[in-house]
Amino acid sequence: MTNSIQELEYAKLLFVIGSNTTEAHPVISYYIKRAVRNGATMIVNDPRRIDLCQWASHYVQINPGSDVAYINGLMREIIANEWHDKVYVEKFTEGFEELRKTVEGYTLERTSEITGVSVETIREVARILHEIHPASVVYTLGITEHICGVDNVRSLANLQMLLGNMGFYAGGLNPLRGQNNVQGSCDMGALPNVFCGYQRVDDSNARRKFEKAWNVTGLSPKPGITMTEMFADALHGSVKALLIAGENVIQTEPHMAHTIRCMEACEFIVLSEIFYNETAPYADVIFPDRAWGEEDGTFSNTERRMQRVRAAVKPQGDARSHWWIMNELGKRMGVDMKFETSNDVWEEMRSLSPGFNGITRERIETIGLQWPCPTTSHPGTPFLHVGGSFTRGKGLFAAIEYSPPAETPDSDYPFWLSTGRRLWHYHTGTQTHNSLGMDDLFGEELIEISPVDAARLGIKTGDWVRASSRRGTITLRAWVIDRSPEGLCWTSFHFAKACANELTIDAFDPISKTAEYKVCAIHLEKAADGEPLGSTLVPRRQARP
């Protein structure tokens, strides 16, 4: 997030796109709802009529995967009416002319045709974006999990720069990150191209610094490969060994059958895990890891706030911290990383990361600090790009054309399938399924089907349906609900028994290598009559109409 979570409560205009906030980030949804109560205008843009729509002043139903066309259409309307922030564009950005030329092709009519949004609605949304400043753009995986995910994000950045909304309190571009420490893993340099603090591996100065600090030579200047490439390369034979720390990849990766082939092909797989999950059978070695609650350390949240996590209970059995495992393996391979406590790791990281240097454990004892925080007297940074200053100098507009999803419905696979998270569970459920009562709240996966499609197929809530894509088939019960528009089904990957990722497509964004979890094509048929969902299974949704 360029801005802070609590600023959302004071936003004047919220533009939410591809974020099912009430389920995926409930606490952020509380602030958003409070903003609406405070009088904020909220535009929710999503293919599904998600529960947050009940608080929205405007709900825009867009076709799956049509985000770039939609944003371009909005920008064309804004520029055509001279509603963009000309001073901001002139002073703080470059590439405007090219952007103008590209979006020129997205006339109201063409945009409407691609996105399914009416011409009047596009006009109305553009007018609101012009009238209320600053707007806070909030997005989640509905934007990034597409083959055009990077394009989607850059389109939103274009929109915010065009409107002059970057660098202001309660404005900015705010991705809500999915996992507790996905921000932190990136901050720590668990990425193929950067060390901790986003210092590039192809920068020889950075390498020299790390070589000296780590007392090693010859750090590789060649950026590595991403996780999805590691799997593909395992299948092709160039990757021989994988070490996976705490991710149930069989269930989380798209196209499960493909992931299984990759795992089977890999010569040596090491896991560091807390449960014997669906990925475990493929491992050669499994280290029992310490779980949250047993582990001392820090997380970075979605607003770049580094916060303390503390050990509250003794670890189960012989479980050890992952950093200890790494340290032990290092010693056995001739490099002593010299970690004795988790704070040793933190201190080393801090000394090597200028942006995090000011964040000592003492300073975040009670309240976390937001990076950049270069010195121990720096107060941290609640929002970035103050007044329009960007890291690279001027903000660069990217002229982007719309491209359709990798797979679209046809006569064999006539439905869109979109996937995501439910309020009641987390990812593959290794934590939530093993916590008391969570399965009473939501105990089996359901596929959401629109009332129109359900009526046509003779399906009612509780019936068993078979959902198939070109990659696999799952059988699960139906939930007929108007959250889904006609032609679109939705389900999650929380349950191994009926996991959406048996169906999802292994098509990736060429830059981020993120898979297109949000759209693929499926075939749907009724398998058997089912009982109505029992009282403990009745899917709850918030009652507000």
Binding site: Q179, F210, I274, A283, S535, A543
Partner: protein, 349 residues
């Protein structure tokens, strides 16, 4: 600016209430419906004080401090009125502290103690049925003092709009939606109501009987679920090595608020299904081995693969669920020990 409370001159800032000033200066004024995150609602009538020159008793939570005013918090009239209010609350409900989950963290119990109330009848049979239909939350109307904190919590703080007052006067009752059992209501089990309930009227179902407030150690931490990074307090039974309950810390980014996962999905750490010993696959089956064996074996295989296929034949995936320290260690291991930049995390899923 100064005002006088119980004969003491105390300073105040513009916008402060008499209650704020008293609390800041260590002067005891009891409250039940007031809470820092709720503000004044003047329902419970416990913060009443005498203010010179005004008629009757005033509620300190809603009267702004003013220069030169004289406040008395300890007169007989004030004490009698407060005592009567609390006694009425105690007579009206079923306040059996021994059995109550909130014993030790009950604000009603605290004010009764402070006001020197020694006797009150505990009826043997509670008049109203409790609602334990939902997975996580128990509502006991017999312990409800109708202070309205849960209503504000549910409707204004988290905006879930489930709890509401029904009826009026002494029949007033807090219900879910249209007075349906909580399990059948639109409640999403975020638990904000129980975090702000001053008595045992709304409590955690799973923690019942597992430890008194004063026996549990409080450990500050960060929620392990989504990227919001909510700050939590873990209430820990050290002897049993168990997290008994979780509450929200009232600091950024969540200001005390949590969701169903953050507040209630914590037992996975003590699950009997946890991995507790290193495993190595031998003849197609995973067998338990010692740490030394697992580490030696892994190091040997890593060395072999590195020698035979080079550093770029490795792939490292750090967990986005684990700590920064663990991610850094994975990153350093892949680069400094193996010598490859093939390190990534699950940011892409």
């Amino acid at each position: 600016m100064e005002l006088t409370i119980d004969g003491r001159n105390v300073p105040f800032r513009a916008g402060q209430t008499v209650l704020d000033v008293a609390r800041e200066n260590g002067i005891y004024i009891p409250t039940l419906c007031w809470h820092p995150r709720i503000g004044p609602s003047s329902r419970c009538r416990l913060c009443i004080v005498e203010i010179e020159g005004t008629r009757g008793l005033q509620t300190a939570c809603s009267v702004l401090a003013g220069s030169g005013i004289t406040v008395r918090t300890d007169t007989e009239i004030v004490k009698t009125a407060r005592r009567m209010t609390v006694e009425n609350l105690l007579y009206d409900g079923h306040h059996d502290c021994i059995a109550c989950e909130a014993n030790g963290r009950c604000e009603l119990q605290d004010v009764a103690y402070r006001l020197g109330i020694r006797e009150y009848p505990v009826v043997s049979e509670p008049a109203q049925l409790l609602d334990d239909s939902s997975a996580m939350i128990v509502m006991d109307p017999n312990k409800c003092i109708v202070c309205g904190r849960c209503i504000i919590a549910c409707n204004e703080i988290v905006g879930n709009d489930v709890l509401t007052f029904s009826q009026r006067g002494y029949r007033t009752k807090i219900v879910c939606d249209t007075a349906v059992p909580m399990a059948e209501s639109s409640c999403v089990q975020c638990g904000e109501c129980l975090q702000l309930c001053p008595t045992g009227a709304i409590t955690e179902k799973k923690s019942a009987g597992k430890g008194r407030e004063w026996e549990l150690e409080k450990v500050n931490s960060t929620c392990p679920y989504c990227g919001v990074g909510c700050q939590v307090i873990l209430h820990v039974d050290r002897a049993a090595n168990r997290i008994v309950r979780i509450s929200g810390r009232e600091v950024p980014p969540n200001d005390g608020m949590l969701c169903v996962k953050g507040r209630f999905a914590y037992e996975f750490t003590e699950s009997p299904k946890r991995l507790t010993k290193p495993l190595i696959k031998k003849d197609g089956k995973h067998v338990e081995v010692s740490w030394d064996e697992a580490l030696d074996y892994t190091a040997r295989r890593f060395k072999e693969i590195k020698e035979k296929h080079g550093a770029d034949a490795f792939g490292f995936i750090a967990s986005s669920r684990s700590t920064n320290e663990n991610a850094y260690a994975t990153m350093k291991f892949s680069r400094a020990v193996i010598g490859t930049n093939n390190v990534d995390n699950c940011a892409r899923t």
